[in-house]
């Protein structure tokens, strides 16, 4: 669990009430400004001290198509997706299917202007007369449409018991200094709230109560966290090309850089260049890395595909580079606004020839921040591309987390020689393995010692970086690169392991699948079924991963892709244990739920555990 300071909500809740433990889905149309309303709700729960998480399930569209926002409110701190108990139905086009999706006992708040012809008797309905409510509001056109969404905020606040001042605080947070916007939006919220107080009889069990489980926490998207980490990692050049869901990474990067990174003369200590495509974006990054700057790009599947040739070059010429791949559903354009872990296999060996890359798998905003600077430390230390494989769910949604620790280690710039060091060495060669770790010493352009010059190339070269077609030069150099990759095994973040005594099953996963898995494990534990869990945080794997696998005969590996891509990698690298690594791989674009994980785990549980779960 991400949150470990959980406080149980008030015990004095009335009987049957479902307090601080439910999911809401808000259905609206894209481009109607419902994000403000949804984030206001999200932040209100957060400000009440209740663990919360919001997921934007949006279409690849600018205006008019259906979009949903899911809010998970969980006193226990679970933030995985969960089918909603409450629905805000504000989109005529999907109303029917949205209502159909609710389980019995569900709640439906809907815009009554849209004439919902639903007669499910197992739901509680709350119609909201939006037009009527807004009749008195003095704004027009687009703004009115935008502000209309605030009506459901007011009604939901009343139904769940969110105090109005909390909502106002959330709006202030959202709009910052723009008080006029706060006021106009809050006016509508209050209007709807007051209307609801007067007209709506509460007939469902869901409500909230203040807790203090979010105290000291922050709420941020993974893309913001990663970008911020990069800023504190000293990134200074970025070449990029817009692509969902990575664009907001660069947006955040630019914002943070603009805030945090100017020299005494007020000049930016960075350069962010929008490239003409991803071939150029990665080219800029490799060029900058060669020249000695910390450089990154952010992209997603189609862009990653276009970077293959340059990544092959950077691997072989040994140039640091950082690529954030915010994964969306592929192949091809696929589902550009849905989440996945489908690029793992491709990224690990991207580029023709024998290439192997360091991959990092963040799972939380804390890790996004940490990997944000670590990626550059590793890229510089190892003089190689480092790919951070995040995903849309992590990158674009708001997640709770602890405030980030300021990096304690200074920037790790790796083996870069100064003019004096080159002179002192005398026989420096760009690709000599002096230390036996496969990592050679490099120099940067502009080094004032003329003997520091070397010629970068993707062609075969000897230890002095001279052109060479010699078979032994090639072989030895490639063997050194393999040695370097073994060094990487000892430098990348190790796995996060939770090992339970007497575990009936060991689960392996990476990235954001953790949340559904953690919740499923809690349910298993509650039923008396112990499981162990290893969350792989990087490739290549090191001893810890191997040892965990070696210790557990019953292993499943859960991942969000069709082809069990990490499974394939582990099976190759741990052939003696290949058969025990059994994949649960799945991809439909939606983040996993605990229920789904449980269902899929069932067949892998021992008979006895299965009985326990069926009883639970």
């Amino acid at each position: 669990m991400a949150i470990d300071t959980l406080v149980r909500p008030d015990a004095g809740a009335q009987a049957g009430a479902k307090v601080n433990d439910f999911s809401i889905a808000v259905a609206t149309a894209n481009g109607t400004g419902s994000q403000t309303a949804n984030l206001t709700l999200l932040r209100s729960f957060f400000k009440m001290g209740i663990p919360v998480h919001g997921k934007n399930i949006f279409p690849s569209n600018i205006q008019g198509q259906p979009t949903w926002y899911h809010i998970r409110v969980s006193k226990d701190g679970f933030v995985a997706r969960r089918p909603p108990e409450l629905l805000v139905a504000f989109n005529r086009d999907t109303m029917h299917q949205d209502v159909a999706m609710l389980e019995a006992g569900g709640v439906c708040v809907y815009n009554s202007d849209l004439r919902l012809n639903e007669g499910r008797s197992d739901l509680t309905y709350y119609p909201v007369p939006v037009k009527e409510l807004l009749a008195g509001v003095d704004v027009k056109g687009k703004i009115k449409e935008y502000i209309a969404n605030m009506t459901y905020v007011g009604v939901v606040a009343h139904l769940l018991g969110v105090p109005l001042d909390v909502i106002e605080g959330a709006l202030e947070h959202h709009f910052g200094k723009r008080q006029k916007l706060v006021d106009s939006n809050f006016e509508v919220v209050r209007l709807a709230y007051d209307w609801a107080v007067a007209n709506v009889a509460k007939a469902d069990p869901y409500r909230v109560e203040p807790m203090n489980a979010t105290e000291g926490l922050i709420l941020m998207t993974g893309n913001e966290a990663g970008a911020l980490g990069a800023v504190y990692g000293g990134v200074s050049v970025s070449g990029w090309y817009p692509i969902t869901p990575s664009t907001s990474f660069i947006d955040a990067l630019r914002d943070f850089l603009a805030k945090l990174r100017h020299d005494e003369d007020g000049r930016p200590t960075y350069s962010v260049v929008q490239a003409e495509d991803e071939l150029a974006a990665i080219g800029m990054v490799v060029g900058a890395g060669w020249a000695g700057a910390r450089a990154l790009t952010a992209t997603s599947g189609p862009g990653l595909s276009l970077m293959a040739e340059f990544l092959s070059l950077a691997y072989y010429a040994e140039v640091p580079a950082v690529v954030w791949d915010i994964q969306r559903v592929g192949p091809s354009t696929g589902l550009p606004t849905r989440t996945s872990q489908g690029d793992v296999g491709f990224a690990y060996t991207i580029g023709h020839g024998d290439t192997k890359h360091v991959l990092l798998f963040p799972s939380s905003i804390e890790e996004c921040f940490e990997f944000g600077y670590l990626a550059h430390d590793l890229a510089d230390t190892l003089q190689t591309p480092v790919l951070v494989l995040s995903d849309l769910d992590l990158g674009m949604n708001n997640w709770m987390g602890k405030p980030f620790d300021y990096p304690e280690r200074p920037l790790q710039r790796g083996k870069v020689l100064s003019a004096e060091e080159v002179a002192a060495l005398g026989d420096w060669g760009r690709y000599k393995d002096v230390d036996g770790d496969g990592i050679a010493y490099r120099t940067l352009p502009g080094n004032p010692n003329p003997a520091a010059a070397w010629f970068g190339r993707g062609t075969g070269h000897d230890e002095m970086a001279r052109y060479s077609e010699s078979p032994t030069d090639w072989e030895q150099n490639m063997a050194r690169l393999a040695r370097k990759f073994d060094t990487a095994r000892t430098l990348v973040p190790g796995p996060a392991i939770e090992e339970e005594p007497g575990a009936q099953l060991a689960i392996v996963a990476y990235g954001t699948t953790r949340y559904a898995i953690e919740e499923a494990r809690a349910q298993l534990a509650a039923a008396g079924v112990a499981t162990s869990f290893m969350r792989v945080r990087a490739l290549p794997i090191g001893d810890e991963v191997r040892d965990f696998v070696a210790r557990h005969e019953d292993l499943v590996l859960i991942e969000m892709n069709r082809d069990a891509q990490l499974t394939a990698i582990l099976r190759d690298e741990l052939p003696e244990f290949a058969a025990r690594i059994r994949p649960i791989a799945h991809l439909d674009g939606m983040p996993l739920t605990a229920a789904w994980v449980l269902e899929r785990l069932m067949p892998f549980l021992p008979e006895e555990a299965r009985r326990l779960m069926e009883g639970a």
Binding site: L217, I218, L219, L228, V231, Y232, G234, S236, V237, G239, L260, R261, D263, R267, P268, T269, Y270, V273, A275, E276, L279, A280, I282, G283, M284, V285, V286, G287, A288, G289, W290, A291, G292, A293, A295, E309, F310, L313, P403, Y406, P407, P410, L411, R413, T443, L444, P445, G446, N447, P450, A451, A452, A453, W454, F455, G456, R457, G458, T459, R466
Partner: protein, 343 residues
Amino acid sequence: MDRAPKLNLVGLSKADYAAAPSTLCKGCGHNSVAAQLIQVAYELNLKPQDVIKLSGIGCSSKSPAYFLGQSHGFNSLHGRMPSLGTGALQANHSVRAIGISGDGDTGSIGLGQFKHMLRRNVRMVYIVENNGVYGLTKGQFSATADLGQSLKYAGTNPFPPIDICLEALAAGAGFVARAFAGDAKQVREVIKAGLSFRGTAVIDIISPCVAFNDEPDSTKSYAYGREHQRALQEIGFFPAQEEIVVADYGPGEMQVVELHDGSRMTLRKLEADYEPSDPTRAITRLRQADLAGELLTGVLYYDASRPSLAEASELPATPLSMLPDDTLRPSRETLSDLLAGYA
């Protein structure tokens, strides 16, 4: 008794600007360009460590290995030098960059990157060693090959050539010149001027491929160049300190262009009414030359008003790649302040 080699102002001999011996064909135009680059660096008293050399892939792109051996260099990917150079020069804008590309590298696979680099005006002397053919892969037509031309290997070319200078002009480049590898002085002086330009200086050098495209009917052959070259100007270059020394000239015959580092380019007009200050005029003149079968050389266009990418980015004097760690990593306080806004 050996004579001590002559040293330039930074104490280097011409040999200090040499590099590995060329592995290109004997007589290849690219070799003479490399020779002129050595000469230029020597004459301009460049410190090799202040220069970087960049290239794509091709015979032409190999040549950075054959000059300025004491400069950092990067022989990168086919057609992708512009982006690599953009990144490298944003990371370190204090070095002078010499980019060498081929007509296939720039005109075929690299056309998009080339044009977008020009839009950004990255400071680099961008030399296209243009031979109308793919040398390294043995003789296919490149995008600058003549329409209707026949080559032993490649057959007949059904497509019109792209014109590197025209493309550069359309993309807004501020320094556009063409030279002929057979005219060493011109190559040398135009490169010198290009090195003083703050932005991308595009120099399209017709550089014959003796192995695959040197038949006299090819516009990229030595014979054609010698017979059909028409120079717009006789180009001179004078560093900041030096006095301009040229032969007598009549009024309006000589144009002196002040370059931003104080050095000057002199253009002795060989075509009376040509001023290299109007891109539309330059395009018109280029097209005329095409129709007339001229190999038009000289400075087609010069305009130093657009800021380079580094300037537009307002980069600090110290290159980004050399900023100290504490400039690169904001303080501890900034982090907690910033995070407070997310609580």
